[in-house]
């Protein structure tokens, strides 16, 4: 190393404040450039996951509502589809 002691490294012949400020700002710029893309990547993945979760939920809800229509909300009323199904089943049994 060129400098003989830590204090001479910090002082840099009276220019320490300038040199270290410059390198400090340099470090910040480097960290900013690494941090932002990492953050964006996480955000993109999260938004895809949320979107997929919602789509899945929407699909399950719509499937459930289709089932509800088919079997009737309280099970007493039958949709035409269900009626035919039962009829066919009965026919088969008979």
């Amino acid at each position: 190393m060129y400098f003989e002691s830590v204090s001479s490294l910090i002082d840099m012949g009276g220019h320490g404040l300038y040199v270290w400020t410059a390198y400090g700002i340099g470090l910040l710029v480097i960290l900013y450039n690494i941090g932002i893309p990492l953050l964006r990547q996480q955000q993109a993945i999260r938004s895809i996951q949320i979107h997929r979760h919602r789509t899945k939920k929407a699909i399950t809800t719509s499937e459930r509502s289709v089932q509800m229509v088919r079997s009737g909300p309280d099970g007493s009323r039958c949709s035409p589809d269900k009626a035919t199904d039962t009829a066919t089943n009965k026919g088969e049994v008979l």
Partner: protein
């Protein structure tokens, strides 16, 4: 055949896959070179006979100024490709380089000001080199702001590409400002046509830092572009498939 390669290069899916393989190696070499170049310059290089230790800012100032100009030149090429061939990836590259370029232009200006104080006795002068570099920062900020101001990717990409191309006129002004005008800023330290005027123990860390900064740009540009691709292509099958098997591998 060559056209097929050109269009494959423009495919976000292909780019995402290949850049994922390159990224660790690029990042490793960039980190190693940054530590070597800046560490050497800061701790081991001898002081300048005239400027003392303040000259150590050169190892940060020159690479960031080089990079800021080079990124702009690259953006102009990407802008031309995006305008002529309508390649999505070129527009993504243009969008992702602008903030990186702006940050390094800012670093070049700030380190220059800090170096100027002990050397010239002033933080700032309205000198040709300094002013044209400030114009470069404004061009970067203009491109970033324009993208944010326009809704809709297509219109925004076209407007940004045109602004990026128009701004290219500033690059030769920056480069030759120290020759065309009588400036306070010193002339070029490194010239391709003549022998370097620096001592090798100062020149080597400077050259290493310059290469390191270019590599660092490649790394952060790839990272930004990958995030942008994921966000733009989130509804496509390949992105959905990419996230399905193991979501942590991304």
């Amino acid at each position: 055949m060559s056209w097929r390669i050109f269009h494959r290069l423009g495919s976000p899916k292909w780019f995402y896959e290949i850049s994922g393989r390159w990224l660790p190696w690029l990042a490793l070499s960039a980190a190693l070179l940054i530590f070597t170049g800046l560490g050497w310059g800061l701790l081991f290089a001898p002081p300048d006979y005239l400027q003392g230790n303040s000259y150590r800012i050169i190892f940060l100032h020159v690479p960031s100024a080089f990079l800021a100009s080079a990124i702009y030149a690259m953006m102009a090429i990407a802008a031309a490709i995006s305008l002529i061939w309508k390649i999505k990836l070129a527009d993504i590259a243009l969008q992702c380089s602008a903030p990186v370029g702006a940050s390094f232009c800012f670093l070049a200006l700030v380190t220059g000001a800090i170096w100027g104080k002990p050397t010239w006795g002033t933080w700032w002068v309205w000198d040709a080199r300094l002013t044209s570099m400030l114009v470069l920062l404004f061009l970067y900020l203009g491109i970033i702001a324009l993208r944010g101001a326009i809704n809709g990717t297509h219109a925004a990409s076209k407007a940004c590409a045109i602004l990026a191309l128009v701004g290219v006129v500033n690059l030769p002004i920056i480069k030759f400002s120290v020759e065309w005008w009588n400036t306070l800023h010193q002339g070029a330290t490194l010239k391709l046509t003549s022998k370097p005027s620096m001592a090798p123990e100062m020149l080597w860390p400077l050259l290493i830092s310059i290469v390191a900064f270019y590599l660092f740009f490649a790394v952060v540009l790839l990272m930004r572009m990958r995030a942008e691709i994921l966000s733009r292509e989130r509804r496509t099958k390949w992105v959905q498939a990419l996230l399905t098997p193991s979501e942590k591998s991304l």
